[in-house]
């Protein structure tokens, strides 16, 4: 194959076309028999050759176009970037305005989101978008922000975060089904329970650091899950707890009864109201998490968390009680997971240990790391990308027209995920938003790129 000759001043188009066509030819030779032809046995055990020409054509087209784009756009751009000497480059003004307005703008969007979806798709059509995308993503945004306190700010790698989520979910599930307490009483209680568990776990293990802490928290997550499976009398084992009461709006139920929301408001009965109500509820809960985190970062305890992440020994020599500081971070992170858990239980109406596997913890940690440790906006973006991305893959059924009926995009979710994460870690090793906003200024604000800063030790 022809060598890719990347010239300094613009790519050579005709050479690129030739090269791309040549690649296409090679691909035809390779994939023609492999992809284009398919043999099957019919009932009489005869081999029947089938042609899959559409699939073959699309594979080759992808290769030709991909090769062409690589030659004309990607490689020249990469070479140019390498050539450009980039000294400590301050963020450009465009970027600064973007980052300043991004958070408020997306907040407004989030508040208008159900209205937009309903006006576009009607109440029935909005269900999927509000529930699967909106609520689902916001739960993970909240979990990400909660874990961000522990991992991003205090620097304690917690691989068992889902345990606190489970504590919250089961607190609500058990107390509401057995005693009939309302969600509004149980929400704070679930948070407190989870925080207590956080302290109980934290107390013995917070002397550990780094990898050791990660392993112990991982084990803790598994212990909680196994207890939920095996303590059948209380938790009904792996079959879980079902018919968990729904959330009411100050006593107004969202059902078709005469006292239900729809009848009271004189609206046609629809399950969309409840979903929209849940959407705003989780949005507010997530924003509460964000608000508390942002406030705490400016208080002594928040500053101590960040200092702790940077250097524990220095913290101690400055008179900071590191044990208490870690415990507060752990308990607070656990509390928000508890809130999210009780919301989750109420929304699903069903909880089982299935929902609290290590995979969940891993996804939440991935969201925090991918977003850029400690950055609120970054974590939210990562949650949208990870959870929204997974949900979007379910929508790829149209690919069946290309790849045949046996193609199931769901099966490729984890593969695509893995590739995407590897890619992000190569190009943005510090996450989506790597700059850290200082909490105190004398002069004007100045964001400094995270790439300028080397890791702390200790």
């Amino acid at each position: 194959m022809a060598e890719a000759t990347v010239k300094k001043h613009g790519p050579d188009l005709s050479a690129a076309v030739k090269d791309a066509l040549l690649s296409g030819l090679i691909a035809l030779g390779l994939f023609g028999p492999l992809v284009g032809l398919r043999t099957e046995q019919n009932i009489r055990n005869e081999l029947v050759v089938q042609g899959r020409w559409g699939l073959l054509a699309s594979v080759i087209a992808v290769i030709i176009v991909g090769r062409f784009l690589l030659l004309t756009l990607v490689w020249p751009a990469m070479a140019a970037r390498k050539e450009r000497v980039t000294p400590a480059e301050a963020p450009s003004p465009v970027r600064q305005t973007l980052s300043r307005w991004f958070a408020p703008a997306s907040l407004i969007f989030l508040f208008l989101y159900p209205a937009i979806v309903v006006s576009l798709l009607g109440f029935q059509g909005s269900l999927k978008w509000v529930d699967n995308f909106g609520i689902q993503i916001l739960i993970y945004v909240m979990l990400g922000w909660g874990l961000n306190i522990v991992v991003g700010l205090a620097g304690l790698l917690d691989l068992g975060y889902v345990a606190f989520y489970a504590v919250g979910a089961y607190s609500y599930a058990l107390l509401s089904t057995h005693f009939g307490f309302s969600f509004w009483i149980l929400l704070p209680m679930a948070g407190i329970f989870a925080a207590l568990w956080g302290i109980m776990l934290g107390f013995p293990v917070l002397r550990l650091r780094g990898d050791y802490l990660a392993i112990v928290t991982l084990a803790f997550g598994e212990i909680i899950r196994l207890v939920l499976i095996n303590w059948r009398d209380l938790t009904n084992g792996s079959s879980g707890i079902s018919s968990i009461p729904k959330i009411t709006l100050f006593g107004i139920k969202f059902d078709a009864s005469p006292t239900g929301f729809a009848k009271m408001m004189d609206l046609p009965v629809s399950s969309a109201y409840y979903k929209i109500f849940l959407y705003y509820l989780i949005l507010l809960l997530a924003l509460l998490t964000a608000f508390v985190t942002i406030r705490l970062r400016k208080l002594p305890v928040g500053r101590a968390w960040e200092a702790l992440r940077e250097d524990e020994i220095a913290c101690r020599s400055l008179g900071i009680n590191t044990t208490n500081t870690k415990l507060t971070a752990f308990a607070l992170g656990a509390m928000f997971a508890g809130f999210a858990g009780s919301f989750f239980a109420a929304r699903q109406g069903f909880v089982s240990p299935e929902s609290f596997t290590f995979m969940e913890s891993a996804i939440i940690v991935a969201i925090v790391v991918l977003g850029g440790m400690g950055s609120m906006v970054g974590v939210a973006l990562a949650a949208v990308a990870m959870i929204g991305g997974t949900e979007l893959l379910r929508e790829l059924a149209f690919l069946k027209t290309i790849f045949g009926d046996n193609f199931n995009p769901d099966q490729f979710r984890m593969l695509i995920f893995g590739l995407a994460m590897v890619g992000i870690m190569i190009w943005k090793p510090r996450g989506f938003v790597s700059s850290r906003q200082p909490t105190i200024f004398l002069a004007e604000k100045k964001a400094i790129a995270g790439t300028l800063v080397k890791e702390g030790h200790g």
Partner: protein
């Protein structure tokens, strides 16, 4: 200046520290009086940093006692020792790399809940004008000398009764070392700041200090005023000949 009468501010009495089974300090006695600069010199591995860390309670002395203002602090947790206003600038500086210069200083003032923060920050910027230029910059992006200045300034933000410095000259150009030592000397003269200085750079340290101790293999082998020690032939031979003057 060196009020040697009365109880010393800091008194280490027969401290023995072990790392596992290995003994690092074999019964060390050191006194630091109020208003003094006391230096501890010695070669690599003599136990200088261990002594300083033992005073801070990490690792703890297995035998012997450590008193601060007459109070036994041997068994106290590190952060509580720091709250007695023993400020430490640890070896390797250990500033917070992702936090800005100002935030680093803020951490130093955490004990007083920032009661006199603005005033103290101004004072630090007078002492170290270089830090003022770097005020919004991340600690990790500072040069070695600036990081050392920041580490000392951060320790001073706690308004310490005793400032302990572990090898402030480590890895710094002679000119910067001189600047830093000048600031320490000035703080001692004008404000009566008590300083316990652990150094390899024996010449500068002994010139600055009122008194000095020489630590060899976990034992104090010599002590005296800075001038006396500078004159001793053994010291000249072991620590000064060929060293940076």
């Amino acid at each position: 200046m060196t009020g040697q009468n009365g109880t010393p501010l800091l008194s280490v009495q027969g401290a023995k520290t072990y790392y596992g089974k290995i003994i690092a300090l074999k019964g060390v006695d050191v006194d630091v009086h109020k208003g003094e600069i006391v230096t501890l010199i010695g070669a690599n591995g003599a136990g200088k940093s261990t002594l300083m860390m033992t005073i801070c309670g990490n690792p703890r002395a297995r035998e012997g006692r450590i008193f601060f203002e007459g109070r036994d602090i041997t068994e106290m947790p590190t952060h509580e020792i720091a709250r007695l206003r023993i400020a430490q600038s640890p070896e390797g500086r250990r500033i917070f790399p992702r936090m800005t210069v100002l935030e680093n200083l803020q951490m130093g003032a955490a004990l007083d809940k920032l009661a006199h923060f603005d005033e103290d920050v101004e004072r630090m910027f007078t002492l170290f004008p270089r830090l003022k230029e770097r005020i919004g910059q991340r600690g990790g992006t500072l040069s070695g000398g600036e990081q050392q200045m920041l580490a000392i300034a951060r320790a001073l933000m706690a308004r310490p009764k005793l400032l302990m410095l572990d090898e402030p000259s480590l890895g710094l150009a002679p000119l910067i070392v001189k600047q830093i030592f000048d600031v320490i000397g000035e703080l001692n003269r004008t404000e009566g700041l008590t300083v316990f200085l652990v150094e390899q750079n024996a010449y500068h340290a002994l010139k600055l200090a009122h008194r000095g101790y020489v630590l060899v293999n976990g034992v104090v082998t010599m002590s005296g005023t800075g001038k006396e020690l500078l004159q001793k032939p053994e010291i000249r031979a072991a620590y000064l000949e060929g060293g940076a003057h």
